[in-house]
Amino acid sequence: MIAEPDGIAKVRIVKAPEMGFLERIYLVEVLKGLLVTSRHFFINLWRHMKKALGRETEPGAVTIQYPEDPAVVARRSRTHHRLLRREDGAPRCAACMLCETICPAKCIRIVAEESPDVMIEKRAKSFEIDLGRCVFCGFCVEACPVDAIRMDTGRVEMAAFWRTDMARDITQLLGERPRQ
């Protein structure tokens, strides 16, 4: 359906292609399908055997053996959060609550307190991200005015036995490292 500038939609009806006799008896098509799958079967079998014999070959499967092989995560993808520090090691977070405000999943909980440093003034007493609720939208990173939070750890695993274990507190978040 193509929308016209004047707002009237132009409709083109596409008919499903008619099946011929050979297609309707289905047998030939089944054979064609078998041919496709068999080609894959034998080529992959050949490659696996070649590899087992120690020969250089293309991989016989696209599977990533996950826990042994690292998960391939695109450089730009949003992964687990981390909190950054100032040059003197203090957390950068100013507890402005902008990430908490923008978070659509309401998974960020910050409690603010007075900083002993009068020039810093305000800092986070606690900073908690509940990854069980996080939707990894990255709004918190966008909203942060002091670049205190990033989603560049490259880590995506967050399985846990308890929901409470999916929450990350401020020390865990500060301890995260960026991906290498």
């Binding site: 100013a94 507890a95 402005c96 609550m97 405000t101 603010a112 009068v118 020039m119 810093i120 002091v146």
Partner: protein, 535 residues
């Protein structure tokens, strides 16, 4: 006063003679950006932000010092006016630290608002910002940040003109100019919180509210302050969406609501910080019964049934003369209506006391604060308490207790031990019936056999009649804590359990029934919003 007509941005505006152009524009719905101007304070014209173009005058004029004249043609939106406003704003921001992320004012800051409206430039200032003292505690509740100050002098003028205490002044010149405490003074007057409200930026912050919760999380509910007999119009600011802020307090702060008839733009500190009782740990959450030295929780159904049965039995056996009821002026009109039905008409209690005693009297001044620290004394009087209904006295009740003449004490919202002294507690021990009905626990709560939790003023819809006889509406800002119920509902439950009629399901229906007894309420609409806006 004769009226004049002028044109502002092409809109014809009629105002009384002598009105300022900025006020005339506001009455036409045109908001001219401004910092130093405040309708209740003198207008020195220091911020230079409210510049407007006036036809026939060669230069731009400061609209907060310009009186409106017949036939005047004012443009607030012309490119010259815009440029002037924008340039003034840039000057204000030369030394402003722009630390909005940590600033408590962010979200209700006039600098932010004005920048969104007529700023939106990139700063051209290359010099370093001048640093000034930060986080200076200039009073018990006020924290001052000189860097953020734009020297509008609203606070100085408030202390000069309204409280006349003159703690602050402007010192220095040029970029060293600063608002500072006068030598040896601190801003500790009973109205000091107002300078935080009128500060257009984050220079003055409330030590109590600092970093507790961001202002954009707050919901405002128009209500009435229960702190004293004046009944100032207020906004109750509450945060229920994110309970981890402000240490779990739901009602985080109170702000004055403009009401020219009652409180103008201000409220006192006593009322302002009175909201802490709403979420204090002393709140009572469920009905309880003291039995064999142990306090046990009990359901409302059982409590209502047992209390009414006890009252009926004791009244029958020992006579209603021995029942002493201590009510409070903190009760709303609706509560008092139900209390009257229960204690006067149904039970015919021998002793009824409502007058504020030493526990509910305090300081008074000529500005806002009233001596009686209860919001509804006039409402109680209008219902007959202290007039048609003869009141007992603290001494008489204490004497009755010691002589054994009084068998029951029903106390609402008050602490008799605060009046009688702690030693009177022994006289209560052998009493067959003691009941404390209140929002917050006090010493009497521990002595009472029955404890019934009632709602605080921010948790119910109610009306209060202030010392002027003005009936105002308090609105429900947050849900009742725990199982707390409005007092009128508790009284109504007891009435129903005693077999009396109390067919009211909402505060509104009680109010409408009350209007049949009080002529001053006839024609008032329970839902009608009181006017007034924040400033």
């Amino acid at each position: 006063m004769p009226e004049i007509t002028l044109s502002i941005d092409g809109v014809s505006v009629t105002v009384s003679e002598g009105a300022l152009v900025i006020d005339a524009a506001r009455s036409a719905g045109i908001d001219i950006p401004h910092y130093c101007y405040h309708p209740a304070l003198g207008n020195p014209g220091v911020c230079r932000l409210c510049m407007v173009e006036v036809e026939g005058l060669p230069k731009l004029q400061v609209s907060c010092r310009l009186k409106a004249k017949e036939g005047m043609v004012v443009r607030t939106n012309s490119s010259a006016a815009r440029r002037a406003q924008s340039s003034s704003l840039e000057f204000h921001l030369v030394n402003h630290p722009l630390d909005c992320p940590v600033c408590d004012q962010a979200g209700e800051c006039l600098l932010q608002d004005t920048y969104q409206r007529c700023g939106l430039y990139s700063s051209t200032v290359r010099e370093d910002k001048r640093h000034k003292p930060k986080r200076v505690k200039i009073g018990e509740r006020i924290v001052f940040d000189s860097e953020r100050c734009i020297l509008c002098t609203r606070c100085v003028r408030f202390l000069d003109e309204v409280t006349k205490t003159r703690e602050l002044g402007v010192f220095g010149r040029g970029d060293r100019e600063e608002v500072e405490l006068c030598p040896g003074r601190r801003v500790d007057n009973p109205y000091s919180g107002n300078i935080v409200d009128i500060c257009p930026v984050g220079a003055l912050t409330d030590a109590d509210f600092r970093f507790q919760v961001r202002v954009w999380y707050l919901a405002g509910t128009a209500s009435v302050c229960p702190g004293c007999a004046r009944g100032c119009s207020i906004f109750v600011h509450s945060n229920v969406q994110r309970p981890w802020h402000a240490g779990g307090r739901r009602v985080v702060r109170l702000k004055p609501r403009f009401n020219p008839e009652v409180n103008g733009y201000w409220i006192c500190d006593e009322g302002r910080y009175g909201c802490k009782s709403i979420d204090s740990p002393s709140r009572l959450k469920a009905p309880s019964l003291l039995k064999d030295g142990k306090v046990g929780a009990i359901s409302w159904e059982d409590a209502t049934k047992l209390v009414s049965a006890e009252l009926a039995e004791l009244c029958r056996a020992k006579g209603p003369q021995g029942l002493a009821v201590i009510l409070s002026g903190t009760l709303s009109n609706e509560d008092l209506f139900a209390a009257k039905r229960l204690f006067i008409e149904r039970l015919k209690a021998g002793h009824v006391l409502l007058r504020p005693g030493p526990d509910q009297l305090g300081e008074e001044d000529g500005l806002l604060r009233r001596k009686e620290k209860v919001p509804n004394l006039r409402g109680a009087q209008a219902l007959g308490f202290g007039t048609a209904i003869r009141e007992s006295s603290w001494e008489k009740i204490l004497a009755g207790l010691t002589s054994g003449e009084i068998w029951g004490l029903y106390v609402v919202d008050r602490d008799p031990l605060a009046v009688w002294g702690a030693e009177a507690g022994e006289a209560l021990l052998g009493l067959p019936f003691t009941l404390h009905q209140a929002a917050n626990a006090n010493r009497f709560t521990r002595a009472a056999r029955w404890v019934l939790p009632s709602t605080s003023y921010a948790e119910e819809d109610a009306t209060f009649t202030n010392f002027q006889g003005r009936t105002q509406r308090a609105r429900k800002a947050v849900a009742p804590l725990g199982e707390a119920r409005p007092d009128w509902r508790i009284f109504g439950g007891l009435l129903a359990a005693l077999g009396a009629e109390f067919p009211y399901g909402s505060a509104r229906s009680v109010f409408e029934a009350l209007a049949g007894e009080r002529s001053d309420l006839v024609g008032l609409d329970f839902e009608l919003a009181p006017d007034g806006e924040p400033r």
